[in-house]
Point group: C2
Chain length 192, copies 2
């Protein structure tokens, strides 16, 4: 087959794949994890059940694929937030703010604790957490070298502090409160 044809098939597969993920998350959000069946997902996606099974074996696997797509999107958004700034201090600030806002948005999904446990237990989730930690650690090390934040503590520990502190964003009522949270976290990083 010519290359162009292969690319068309690949694009079609990708579209169906993504539509399945979106339909599943919508159904799980409405009905809860245990109430959703493969038949409902096929119907909502607008494909046959047999086709659905060519893509995914069960609901759990679809949700994990959706979660991996989300996480990849978040990591990319964080990396982009950092890239836009050339100054080490402002780069760090942009990344912290983006991470906090992502957390606040995720809380809005209103997933059940069971589902969150399922998603976070996956192998890929552990890998993403390491990537996130490394990305932030590097930004912190750059900022410390530039003299914008304290250099008396290991960047690794500072990253652990930031990641936990900013998770508080999920419990905050407004974007203004998220900004204040980022300010508090930065104040800890800047103090000597």
């Amino acid at each position: 087959m010519p290359k162009l044809w292969n690319e068309t098939i690949e694009a079609h597969r990708r579209t169906v794949h993504d539509a399945i993920l979106d339909a599943t998350v919508e159904l799980v959000g409405e009905r809860g994890l245990l109430a959703v069946t493969m038949s409902q997902i096929a119907e909502k996606t607008g494909i046959g059940r047999a086709t659905l099974y060519k893509y995914f074996p069960d609901v759990e696997t679809i949700l994990l694929a959706w979660h991996n797509r989300q996480v990849a999107g978040h990591l990319e958004r964080l990396a982009r937030a950092g890239e836009r700034e050339s100054d080490a201090g402002r780069r760090l600030e942009a990344m912290l703010e983006t991470y906090a806002l992502i957390h606040r948005q995720m809380a809005g999904h209103g997933f059940s604790p069971d589902l969150v446990t399922l998603l976070h237990r996956s192998h890929d989730a552990g890998h993403a957490r390491q990537q996130l930690h490394a990305m932030l650690r590097d930004a912190l090390a750059d900022a410390a070298r530039a003299g914008v934040i304290r250099d008396d503590l290991a960047a690794d520990e500072l990253a652990t502090f930031c990641l936990h502190a900013l998770q508080a964003a999920a419990a905050l009522p407004s974007e203004a409160a998220v900004q204040r949270l980022v300010g508090l976290t930065l104040a800890g990083l800047r103090a000597r």
Copy 2:
């Protein structure tokens, strides 16, 4: 029955109750939540199965009772840590440090994510979180009034920040690292 006799019975019930909780947590730690049966718990506690069922209907209820006992102990430990200090700044510092150390110790239990989800979902757990938040919020408000920490942010938001930031203690490798985490958190609170 004379009062003394009732007290003896009550003390005996309490001893058996606590022994059941301890045996269960030990078994779950060794074998995992799903592998533990009521018979194993009765045997490990050194009581009959019929007696065990007079205390608890199932394993899940025992674990929730154990968790409530732990949480009550933690809240008491936090309150005591605060009471020992008359100065508002040192009281806050003692509470933050105690909370961080409790988190580090809890991580050592090595419970599975399923079990943690089960325990945190309970009604009592939500109530305990509110108590914890209120306790810390009051200590922060006192410290702000005493001029030891910033007074430009609501004590409620500062409490949310502290509680999340200090949960990082669970991921830290040493008590010295926990002390540095408390220092970072306090630095955020002190900055203006």
